[in-house]
Subunit: 249 residues, 2 copies
């Protein structure tokens, strides 16, 4: 429902730049010392695992779409120069904690074992394999998802809730880029065609309009070659202060 | 998206009665011999694990609601008599394959490693813990869900896609009881209040109307004590022949 403003990177992996966004991966290392939040911007957060990078479970269609967008991404060259590109790849981690600049909310925010729903399985290719790209000039966000065998609903096909999860991931990220921290207020999905397990799908979202704290987003999900429409959807997000989320729970 | 017509049971675990619905759990045993489908209704499907029964991860609120509905369920007594009750508990497995009465579709239906999205994690309490009950007199379906730590979206709270998954599970089951095999055609969710990780929620669905192949369902999700509204939603399902699903993929 809420999304971080993710740091935008090209091909190279960079540490998060925003002082109010921090990301870590404690799948291998012990949890960082949250009692010392002054260290959040450096040191032990320098090398989280970025799940949006290719792994051996990615099939040909997933790789093809990844390369299609990644080849148009800005990146830092080996010589240290920045290459321009219309797209940015959005790195993805198995958890984000936001606005943790002090200890006042930490005790409520931290569930040491919590993991992002879409990144909670370590078995590569078993659930959601995905990467998101953003084009600031066109204000477009795309997500490339490969549906693993643990996402089954109808026999041999992806569960409707897993499809909704893919959509929420793309449009929630887009709304957050547009407006900062948001909560989903409405999600309306038309399911047009089932998705076989193992298939790769392409999601494309657009921000339709902003009205005060509201942002309206639409999203279309097609087969990887664009020939089949799987879903079309609309969503409304509302800007929030994260303190609202923490105090209101 | 599609749901089986689940066999309805009380407290006691029974083998599925319908000849066109079969369910198995191959998490411990080797896969059954699908090349011999004539054996589907007996033998190796007699003792699947029913995930809707309590386990040690269920908290007090989950247990309270389970007992509240289960105490009103019809059941077979030790003496072999049937006790009447308005509610039925719906057993839940980690996969269903349906209508597999012949070999013609099996090769397309069977993904040996596939698991139901909501039952794909063996770590009790980590993702979705839930049980569904159905009241045929009132035509009501309820779901009691406990949200595990691997369902995180906003820090410390349940992902919007996981919430949609809970809703789809309850209303999809209800629509299937009402109309047989269905596909979700539309799902429209209003998110009213975030759900903290670990909380138990109660979902209640009603069939509003049926029109030909269409069935309209509504669903309300509240805190376990009913005092807080988390979501309200509407959905449209369309009856299908399963062969459509298999041939259309």
């Amino acid at each position: 429902m809420t999304r971080s403003i993710l740091p935008l990177t090209g091909r190279s992996l960079r540490a998060p730049k925003s002082s109010c966004v921090f990301i870590y991966d404690d799948s291998k290392a012990p949890p960082p010392p949250f009692s010392a939040p002054q260290g959040l911007a450096s040191g032990f957060f320098s090398k989280p695992r970025d799940f949006s990078l290719p792994n051996s479970s990615w099939g040909p269609e997933m790789m093809r779409l990844y390369e299609q967008y990644n080849s148009q991404c800005g990146e830092e060259t080996e010589g240290g120069e920045n290459r321009e590109g219309p797209w940015k790849r959005l790195p993805s981690y198995n958890r984000f904690l936001k606005y943790a600049t002090g200890g006042v909310y930490l005790s409520r925010m931290i569930h040491k074992k919590a993991r992002l729903f879409t990144r909670n399985n370590r078995d590569q290719g078993a659930t959601f394999e995905y990467v998101l790209f953003f084009n600031s000039e066109e204000d477009k966000c795309v997500g490339v998802f490969q549906a693993g065998h643990l996402l089954e609903g109808p026999p041999g096909h992806v569960h409707g809730g897993a499809i909704a999860t893919m959509i929420d991931t793309v449009i929630g990220t887009h709304a957050t880029i547009a407006c900062g921290p948001v909560l989903t207020a409405n999600l309306n999905i038309n399911y047009r065609r089932p998705i076989p397990l193992g298939n790769t799908v392409l999601l494309e979202s657009s921000v339709d309009k902003k009205e005060g704290k509201k942002v309206f987003v639409t999203c279309k999900m097609t087969s990887s070659d664009g020939s089949k429409l799987h879903t079309d959807s609309t969503a409304l997000f509302v800007s929030i202060k994260v303190s609202q989320l923490l105090l209101g729970s």
